[in-house]
């Protein structure tokens, strides 16, 4: 059976959502290909008047664009950005990202719930980035979110699964796909989140700050697939104490 997950009625096979920030446009195509990504995030900013290269020219056909609402400090600002992004004619997906804290860039869960409610009613596929809190996740689900995107560690930190216990609670209790976003720095951390039962991983800085960007995108792809397979298979058990030989305990040469 094909292993897919669904966001707002759209089916995806790849469980790696790739960011496009902080690296050269010329590498985006290779990064998407090596990542096997079907969804790529973008930001919306004021346009410059000088002729400049356009990121949309570098993204292969068929890849789903996921605009974020970065820069928004309130639900209303996020809604405004979502409206502008939809006007670009690239679909109804939106990643809600609302931050009032400029030092740690932590998402404002309350404003995120409000924005989710407004945009879900308007027919967007709403993917809210949030601080992992079960009550908030339930409110987001009730507000019409298509998934929940808890942070693993502060954005851009590459620190890994600092919020592991709380993400596990979301995975166990929330029926929507849980997509771990922000802070994942290494393929092994992405793999671990997938082993826990995350539906997908979103990463940007881990790839953008790597020595070889497409190669690291490929490494994440493999790690995410490995973690997914391990989760579906069911882990081997852990002994509380003692040991258990893997080899037969009879027929030794000296016997």
């Amino acid at each position: 059976m094909k292993d897919t997950f669904t966001l707002g009625g759209h089916e995806f096979t790849s469980r790696f959502i790739l960011g496009s920030g902080k690296y050269n446009l010329s590498l985006i195509k290779a990064a998407i290909e090596d990542a096997g990504a079907e969804i790529i995030t973008l930001a919306l900013r004021r346009a410059n008047t000088k002729k400049e290269e356009n990121i949309l020219d570098y993204i292969p056909e068929g890849v789903t664009l996921l605009p974020n609402t970065s820069g928004a400090r309130t639900a209303e600002e996020a809604v405004r950005i979502a409206h502008l992004a939809r006007e670009m004619g690239c679909g109804d997906f939106v990643k809600i990202e609302i931050m009032r804290d400029s030092k740690y860039l932590l998402p404002d869960n309350y404003e995120t719930i409000r924005a989710t409610e407004i945009l879900a009613k308007e027919g967007y596929v709403v993917m809210p980035y949030m601080y992992p809190d079960l009550n908030v996740a339930r409110s987001l689900a009730a507000a019409g979110a298509a998934c929940i995107m808890p942070l693993a560690a502060p954005i851009g930190s590459n620190k890994g699964l600092a919020t592991k216990e709380f993400i596990q609670i979301l995975i166990d209790e929330i029926e929507l796909p849980i997509i771990v976003d922000a802070g994942i720095g290494r393929p092994s951390q992405a793999c671990e989140a997938m082993e826990m039962g995350a539906a997908a991983i979103m990463a940007n800085t881990a790839i953008a700050t790597a020595g070889d960007i497409p190669a690291m995108a490929g490494a994440f792809k493999k790690a995410i697939e490995a973690g997914r397979t391990a989760y579906l298979t069911g882990m081997g058990r852990v002994l509380q104490r003692g040991s258990e030989a893997s080899d037969p305990l009879t027929g030794f040469l000296g016997d």
């Binding site: 960011g19 004021r46 000088k50 990121i55 974020n68 690239c90």
Partner: protein, 65 residues
């Protein structure tokens, strides 16, 4: 005076959105426009005339996470 992306645009009033974007090298296909806080649908760029006092935002996609 018209304001475009936070800067005064002395030559904007009286022009259509499409003409203004084209004259200033904005790639029309790749931008979205807001006038006084309201989205200007792409299909109306040709007809919508910029009025004195308008505040316009022209945005595009960039790399982001």
């Amino acid at each position: 005076m018209v304001t475009v992306n936070g800067e005064q645009a002395a030559d904007a009033a009286g022009k259509t959105i499409l003409d203004y974007l084209t004259e200033h090298g904005y790639p029309g296909r790749y931008v979205a426009v807001e006038c006084n806080g309201e989205i200007v649908p792409k299909a109306t760029f040709e007809e919508r005339v910029i009025q004195d006092g308008d505040t316009i935002e022209v945005v595009r996609f960039v790399g982001g996470g």
